[in-house]
Symmetry: C2
Subunit: 153 residues, 2 copies
C-alpha cells in the first residue's frame, strides 16, 4: 500500500454492542462488577461464524467509537488517572485517536444465537462492532508492567 495516497480503508459494522451506558462509559470498570447485560449482537449473516467461539474464555472486542470527539491534530491525551497530566496519544487508550478503534478484552459468558453475553465493557450502547477475535495464550502476557503510572508530573 502506498501511504502517500492516503487511501481510505473502508470497513462496515458486523453488529452492535448493547450496554447500559448511554452517554458515559465508565473508564476501566472492573469487568466483573459491572451491571449489564453486555451483549454483542451480530448481524444475521454472521451467526454461523460464532461456531466454536464458546471454547474460549475471553474475546477481543473491536469497535468503532462513533461518538468520540475525534482527532483534532493534538498528539496528547489526558488520562483521568493522571489528574491534569498528559501522555502521548499512542501511549493512551483515548478514544480521540486518528482511527477511533476501541479494544476491550471481555469474559465470554454465553452465546445465544447471534448474541454474545460478556462481562463488563467500557463501551457506549449502540456502538458498532467491527471485529471479534478469540483471546489466546499469545495475547496473554504475564508481565504488562505499570506503564506511565509512576510518571511524575
Amino acid at each position: 500500500m502506498d501511504l502517500s495516497t492516503n487511501e481510505i480503508i473502508a470497513y462496515r459494522a458486523i453488529g452492535t454492542i448493547h450496554t447500559p451506558y448511554s452517554d458515559m462509559a465508565p473508564f476501566q470498570a472492573n469487568e466483573d462488577d459491572a451491571k449489564g447485560p453486555f451483549i454483542l449482537e451480530l448481524l444475521p449473516e454472521f451467526e454461523t461464524a460464532l461456531e466454536d467461539l464458546e471454547c474460549f474464555r475471553y474475546v477481543i472486542v473491536l469497535f468503532h467509537m462513533d461518538r468520540a470527539t475525534g482527532y483534532n491534530g493534538s498528539n496528547v491525551a489526558h488520562p483521568p488517572s493522571l489528574g491534569g497530566g498528559t501522555v502521548g496519544l499512542f501511549a493512551s487508550r483515548s478514544p480521540n485517536r486518528p482511527n477511533p478503534i476501541g479494544l476491550d478484552v471481555a469474559r465470554l459468558l454465553r452465546i445465544e444465537g447471534r448474541k454474545i453475553y460478556t462481562s463488563g465493557l467500557s463501551v457506549l450502547d449502540g456502538t458498532p462492532l467491527i471485529d471479534l477475535k478469540p483471546y489466546t495464550k499469545r495475547d496473554s502476557k504475564p508481565d504488562p508492567g505499570d506503564g506511565w503510572k509512576g510518571k511524575v508530573q
Copy 2:
C-alpha cells in the same frame, strides 16, 4: 449508528509495518525467536504521539491486512493447527474476515524517532498500521485456556 444503512467506516493508515516477510508471515511464530527487524514506522505527523509509550513493555498493534484474500461469505476458517478441520470464522484469527483487521501483541524493544522496534510480528512487510495501543494489566488475562485446541474433528 443505524446498521441498516450499512454505513462505511473510513480509516486511514497511521504508518507502515516493516517485517522480513514479503509473501508469507509465519503463523504464530515465537515472537522472541523471530529474526527481524520488526519496525512500526509512524507517519511524521504522529511522532510526538509516541511520547511515554516507552514506559510500556508491550504494545497492541492493529493493522489492515491489505493482502488478505478477503471475506467471500464463508463463515468458516481452516486453522493450520487443525489440519483439515474447520472452526467458525470469529473463533479464528483468519485474515479473511469481513473487516481484515489484524491484531498482534508485541514486545516493545526501543523507539527511535517515529520508528518503534518490536519483537516478532506475524505481519507482511508494508502492511498499513491503523492503530497502536499500550498493553495494560486490563489486557492481561492469566487464564486464556486452550480454546478449540482439544476439539475432536
